[in-house]
């Protein structure tokens, strides 16, 4: 049931890279588009879901999204999937055989690398997959190119019968620019052709197909030498000629407007002969690529002398302020002192959990427990590793909290034998890749207590729906996973499964204490929704009765950003011990009345604000 909105007609539009890709996917006549949310790629499918004429979906993980796209391609439809860089690791099993079968309807895989690491667990260069899978990689440099290259990618995919990778970075996905767009074309799928030698990849069928990967690669290489996606910018200052791919083209043109540039759009396989000719026209070649030295290595292997990561950083973005000093050093020039004021030291402001976030109760409780090892996962709840809770000990990959917890349990020695192993995972991450880990825990008789934080949203990426919300990408009702039944089916005993309200601290604490004592797998499911989704209902807000506040600071330990310290003091107790005091106030206009801070407040100084203030506010403190 696509929820159709009016799609603007062909025009000059102000679009992010994600917007531009979505627009082009729609215009290309794509029939199926699938993704799992992941920064910085999330918006592509969100935007596509508002278009009509195609099936869009949130898939449970990136591998499934890629397989959905492949299935559509098999029946002859144009298909698309999008993911962040680590998503392609998950989907790579499908990719590495899809490259043997090839594709029928055009299939484009958009993968967004988080260069600069704004919201990821690592930084990696997805261009490697092009080399590994022998598939072409296109790298746009801005929104207009993201649009144009998405259209070109479908055309190339159908010509080469190959999936095509559209490699984006954060600085493409989240940059807005002016884009000239077109209109949608409709393409009727040719239909599925039964052909086991093509689609059934057993050794006898796959082996004869292997050469097709290399034939296609050769065709793509020939294409790369002539395509207008690869071009040269002629300029007069021939001391250094730059080779760029992706957003670095814009940075180089900005920083060195007089230097010649070879701009790669179809960067894999690279047009080595064109690059060789370019190199002959300049004194020195500098390859500017994010993030690994792929082109540099390939050019050197082809005998084209060049500089690259010997002078440029191997991590992070290669913006003009990074390039300029590096190039000056390469030219043997002195790097001048900057004229602007130096960067000022200011306290860090890490992301925090929201006011009244249901995870606050979980982490407050975990922070009060002794002798626990807390195996964590990927989502908003990873913030539990920060202050004031310090109650998350690991974060690796989607669903890893399960396997690492089991491994800790099985591998521990005497020094850890009295510790409890707890795993913390969110609802969407659990369904993405955590369920299998829980099955492994039950099957192999692990002693792990799992906290399954069901906030009915993919919180960190903006509250998307998942199979636990009972709604699809359009918000329409669909089947809803029952987590208690699912855990039971995965082998957790019914009496070891508890569904609890995370705002009831004593209940949560009791359940955690009891379940960590019992030496078998248990699951505690918390059932309060994310405060940022539409279904969240705020309650009456609280305030602090100043004369009753004793400064114990217990409420501060909850970690709610609506609680502010107004005054600090120290007292010497009868025992002679010095104790820090923190007197507080609650930003009542921000408080939504979850009541978490009320519970650890010994003097009962936190009471309902009356009358409720009408001013809407984020946590401002006036001077």
């Amino acid at each position: 049931m696509p929820v159709t909105q009016t799609v603007p007609a062909a025009a000059r539009m102000f679009l992010s890279g994600n917007d531009a890709v979505a627009r082009a996917v729609w215009e290309a006549g794509t029939r199926v588009a699938a993704a799992y949310p992941g920064t910085p790629s999330t918006e592509i499918l969100e935007i596509l879901s508002r278009h009509s004429g195609l099936h869009t979906e949130w898939s449970v993980n990136e591998k499934v999204s890629m397989e959905v796209a492949l299935g559509a391609s098999m029946v002859g439809a144009r298909a698309f999937c999008a993911m962040k860089h680590v998503g392609l690791n998950v989907a790579s099993d499908a990719l590495m055989t899809m490259t043997v079968t090839g594709t029928e309807g055009g299939l484009v895989i958009a993968v967004a690398d988080d260069v600069g690491m704004s919201s990821s667990q690592n930084e990696q260069d997805s261009r490697y997959w092009g080399r590994f899978a022998h598939v072409p990689v296109l790298e746009p440099a801005d929104s207009q190119e993201a649009y144009a290259m998405t259209l070109a990618a479908f055309e190339l995919s159908e010509r080469l019968k190959s999936p095509v990778i559209l490699r984006l970075t954060t600085r493409i996905c989240h940059v807005k620019g002016v884009v000239h767009t077109g209109e949608r074309i409709e393409i009727e799928p040719k239909g599925f052709v039964k052909d086991p030698r093509h689609w059934v990849m057993v050794p006898g069928n796959a082996k004869p197909r292997l050469p097709s990967m290399f034939e296609r690669e050769a065709a793509a290489r020939a294409e790369a030498e002539v395509t207008p996606l690869n071009f040269q910018v002629e300029r007069s200052d021939r001391r250094i000629g730059f080779v760029t791919s992706g957003p670095t083209f814009m940075h180089v043109r900005e920083a060195f407007p007089d230097a010649p540039v070879f701009k790669l759009g179809l960067s894999c396989p690279p047009p080595l002969e064109s690059l060789r000719r370019f190199a002959a026209t300049v004194d020195t070649v500098l390859v500017v690529e994010e993030t690994e030295p792929l082109l540099e290595t390939e050019m050197k292997a082809a005998g084209i002398a060049c500089h690259g990561k010997d002078v440029l950083p191997r991590i992070g973005e290669l913006a003009p302020d990074v390039l300029e000093p590096a190039v000056r050093r390469l030219r043997g020039e002195v790097v001048p002192e900057p004229e602007h004021v130096p960067a000022q030291q200011v306290f860090p402001r890490p992301p925090t959990m929201c006011v009244a976030c249901p995870h606050l109760g979980v982490y407050y409780t975990l922070s009060q427990m002794r002798n626990v090892i807390i195996s964590g996962d990927i989502g908003c709840y990873t913030l539990g590793a920060g202050h004031p809770w310090n109650a998350l000990d690991t974060c690796i990959s989607m669903g890893a909290s399960m396997g690492t917890a089991l491994g800790m349990d099985k591998g521990r020695g005497k020094v850890d034998e009295n510790k409890k192993v707890v795993a913390v995972i969110g609802d969407s991450t659990f369904m993405h890749m955590g369920m299998q880990g829980l099955l492994d825990i039950t099957w192999n008789r692990g002693n792990v207590t799992v906290l399954l934080l069901d906030n009915r949203a993919v919180g960190m990426t903006g509250g998307q729906d998942n199979p636990g919300t009972g709604r699809d990408i359009h918000g329409a009702e669909t089947t809803r996973v029952d987590f208690a039944k699912l855990c039971e089916a995965l082998g957790v005993k019914k009496e070891r499964i508890h569904v609890l309200d995370p705002y009831e601290l004593p209940v949560l604490f009791k359940a955690l204490r009891e379940e960590t004592k019992i030496e078998e797998p248990s699951v505690i499911i918390t059932n309060r929704p994310c405060v940022l989704i539409d279904h969240y209902q705020p309650a009456k807000s609280y305030t602090v009765e100043e004369d009753r506040c004793t400064g114990c600071g217990n409420c501060v330990e909850v970690g709610c950003p609506a609680i502010h310290v107004t005054r600090r003091d120290k007292v010497i107790k009868a025992s002679g011990k010095e104790v820090d005091l923190s007197f507080v106030r609650i930003e009542t206009s921000a408080c939504t009345g979850c009541g978490l801070c009320v519970q650890p407040c010994a003097p009962a100084a936190i009471v309902h604000a009356d009358p409720v203030q009408n001013v809407q506010s984020v946590q401002f403190v006036r001077k």
């Binding site: 102000f14 920064t39 600069g116 704004s118 919201s119 990821s120 801005d142 954060t170 600085r171 989240h174 940059v175 807005k176 620019g177 002016v178 814009m250 940075h251 043109r253 900005e254 920083a255 913006a319 003009p320 302020d321 900057p338 602007h340 004021v341 130096p342 960067a343 000022q344 200011v346 306290f347 860090p348 402001r349 890490p350 992301p351 925090t352 959990m353 929201c354 913030l383 202050h387 004031p388 903006g462 940022l532 501060v556 970690g559 950003p561 609680i563 310290v565 600090r568 820090d580 923190s582 206009s589 001013v615 809407q616 506010s617 984020v618 946590q619 401002f620 403190v621 006036r622 001077k623």
Partner: protein, 202 residues
């Protein structure tokens, strides 16, 4: 190459930094400029640091403003303005909300909030126009008017008439929420007055 205007907007997740920059971009586009706008939005709703870069002119290449290249620094929060003050050109102008948002790490006593971020910026030799836009927005009836107040404050320092920006602000609400048009018009003019903008324009 013709002059590119660089505007850096900074603040805290949830303050409307990205929306304000989007409106500035819309105003520039309405005049036919080439425009690029970039930000890191991954955790913007989580009370973290947010910056948004806006560049416009005849043809914009890199979307990022390099340190020391911002013509205007619009700080939605005073410590954030200080944090990004190195982005300003030596002859640039900072427009700063002197209101404070104190993060949990300061409440926990792990870090100190700077005593007077605006004074610190001035001591560095920067031109700073500061006023409490948060309080002003609350007086006007809604803290959420804060970003319109800040847009009003920068309106007389743009390479185009303040009215173009005002119309872009009001166009946001005109279609969906007409009752907000007057509130935002008032907030915009209050922001202009707070930094002496109207007087300069006249």
């Amino acid at each position: 190459m013709s002059k590119i205007t660089n505007i850096l907007v900074c603040g805290v997740g949830g303050q409307g930094v990205m929306t304000a920059t989007e409106i500035l971009a819309e105003a520039a586009i309405s005049l036919g400029f080439d425009v690029k706008k970039t930000e890191v939005a991954g955790m913007s709703q989580r009370g973290g640091v947010v910056t948004s870069h806006l560049r416009f002119g005849d043809a914009v290449l890199s979307p990022q403003i390099a340190p020391g290249e911002a013509d205007l620094l619009i700080g939605f929060e005073s410590a954030e303005a200080l944090r990004w003050s190195h982005m300003l050109r030596p002859d640039g102008v900072a427009l700063v909300n002197s209101g404070r948002i104190v993060p949990p790490v300061v409440n926990l006593g792990l870090f100190d909030y700077p005593e007077d971020p605006v004074a610190q910026m001035r001591a560095l030799g920067l031109t700073v126009h500061a006023f409490d836009a948060s309080s002003l927005a609350i007086q006007l009836g809604n803290i959420r008017l804060g970003n319109t107040v800040m847009l009003g404050a920068c309106a007389d320092r743009l390479p185009f008439p303040a009215e173009v920006l005002r119309d872009a602000v009001l166009a946001r609400f005109g279609t969906r929420k007409p009752q907000l048009v007057e509130a935002n018009r008032g907030a915009f003019e209050a922001g202009r007055r707070a930094v002496g903008g109207e007087a300069l324009a006249a």
